[in-house]
């Protein structure tokens, strides 16, 4: 492989993802769910809009998950498929989706970790299916962007940097 492959998703994929996440939030009584790509890019946010910078949050989430992945390997585990960070009022639950994306759930005292984990399991299974279908659609790997998508981009970069 020359470099990292790109991936892209359509509006219908996006809608499906949002529907699964909305149903999960309702069932788990959690506040907010974010999907973050393993490289730190925010894919989707559903539920109460977060009060923090979601881009920074996404990059830290990916780093957190990757660091824990390595820790798992060091103690002889294949991976930690999910992580929990518990605070006094606010807590986070993180779970792997299709080895490419991380589901982050923010929840408070209105629910319990047990319920979030339980409902999270079902949501992850559904999301796994969506992402695997998405990746399989054009062969084994992630989709390639439309040809010529960024034609003329160079001029715009020139403009930005003067």
């Amino acid at each position: 492989m020359a470099g990292a492959a790109s991936w892209s998703f359509s509006e219908s994929d996006f809608k499906q993802i949002q529907q699964h996440l909305q149903a999960f939030l309702r069932d788990a009584n959690a506040r907010c769910a974010l999907l973050v790509d393993r490289t730190g890019q925010l894919v989707a946010t559903v539920g109460e809009p977060p009060q923090f910078d979601p881009t920074a949050f996404a990059s830290l989430t990916a780093a957190d998950f990757s660091a824990n992945d390595q820790l798992a390997k060091m103690i002889g585990e294949h991976e930690f498929a999910s992580l929990v960070h518990q605070g006094e009022k606010e807590s986070m639950f993180l779970a792997d989706v299709a080895k490419r994306v991380i589901l982050v759930v923010l929840f408070d005292q209105r629910t319990t970790l047990g319920l979030v984990k339980l409902k999270g399991k079902g949501a992850v299974e559904k999301l796994n299916k969506v992402f695997e279908e998405m990746f399989n659609r054009v062969g084994a790997g992630p989709t390639t962007p439309q040809k010529g998508l960024l034609e003329g981009a160079e001029d715009e970069i020139d403009k930005l940097f003067g």
Binding site: M1, A2, G3, A4, A5, S6, W7, S8, F9, S10, E11, D13, F14, K15, D37, R38, T39, G40, Q41, V43, D53, T55, A56, S59, L60, A63, S66, A67, Q70, P142, P145, G148, L149, L150, E151, G152, A153, E154, E156, I157, D158, K159, L160, F161
Partner: protein, 224 residues
């Protein structure tokens, strides 16, 4: 790994600033952070030690503007340069779209530069990425210092070139930023490719945006 979201019409790309410790990677990001309008950049996150040495990474998202109806956003990361942080350094390379190698021009740091470059090649190949095939630029930083090595020596050590075997690429390709110099050329009957290089004094901001522009362009070209 650039991510294209057709629903929100966004393109996100990841750039990593690599190089030896104290070479100026964080300084590059700090300068960009200070100069770019707050409307077009996000918050800068630094996971650093108490003595301001990068522990895990620095992160800065920058919007390049809308291109073909897509909001184009670059996520800039630095890695910790110190040798013993290799595990975390490698994590940051995951899914990278473009790399800037920030070399320290000081003669005394030549060995550290070479070691870091070798480490970059090794970490990239462990992910199955080929550094000669992805957007990659070298920045020779600290050009203002009296003990800065000549660029020719730095080039010989850090950017000697790689053989070009693909016939389609075997054509003289001028370096757009350096008249009279080529990125691909024939040397002693062998086609050789080199990474574009830039001179910089990151602490003053010299060369910082030229470097970002060079590598961003290369990344967007791979998408076009």
């Amino acid at each position: 790994m650039s991510m294209i979201n057709y629903a929100s019409r966004e393109i996100n790309c990841k750039l990593v600033y690599y190089g030896p410790g104290l070479g100026g990677k964080t300084t590059n990001l700090e300068h960009i952070y200070g100069k770019v309008s707050p409307n077009t950049r996000g918050k800068m996150i630094s996971l650093a030690t108490e003595t301001e040495r990068t522990l895990f990474f620095d992160f800065l998202p920058v919007d390049l503007g809308t291109i073909r109806g897509f909001k184009t956003r670059f996520h800039l990361y630095t890695v910790p340069g110190q040798v013993y942080y290799n595990a975390s350094r490698k994590l940051i390379l995951k899914g990278v779209d473009g790399i800037v190698f920030v070399a320290d021009s000081q003669i005394e740091r030549m060995e550290a530069n070479v070691e870091s470059m070798q480490n970059l090649y090794d970490n990239m190949s462990e992910y199955g990425y080929d550094l000669t095939k992805i957007p990659f630029a070298i920045q020779y930083n600290k050009r203002d210092l009296p003990n800065a090595a000549p660029v020719r020596d730095l080039q010989a050590s850090l950017n000697p070139g790689w053989p070009i075997e693909d016939g389609a690429q075997q054509k003289v390709t001028p370096d757009p930023t350096r008249p009279g110099e080529n990125l691909v050329e024939r040397v002693d009957n062998q086609w050789v490719g080199r990474a574009p290089y830039l001179e910089a004094v990151a602490i003053r901001g010299d060369g910082v945006f030229d470097t970002l522009k060079t590598v961003s362009k290369m990344v967007l070209k791979t998408l076009s």
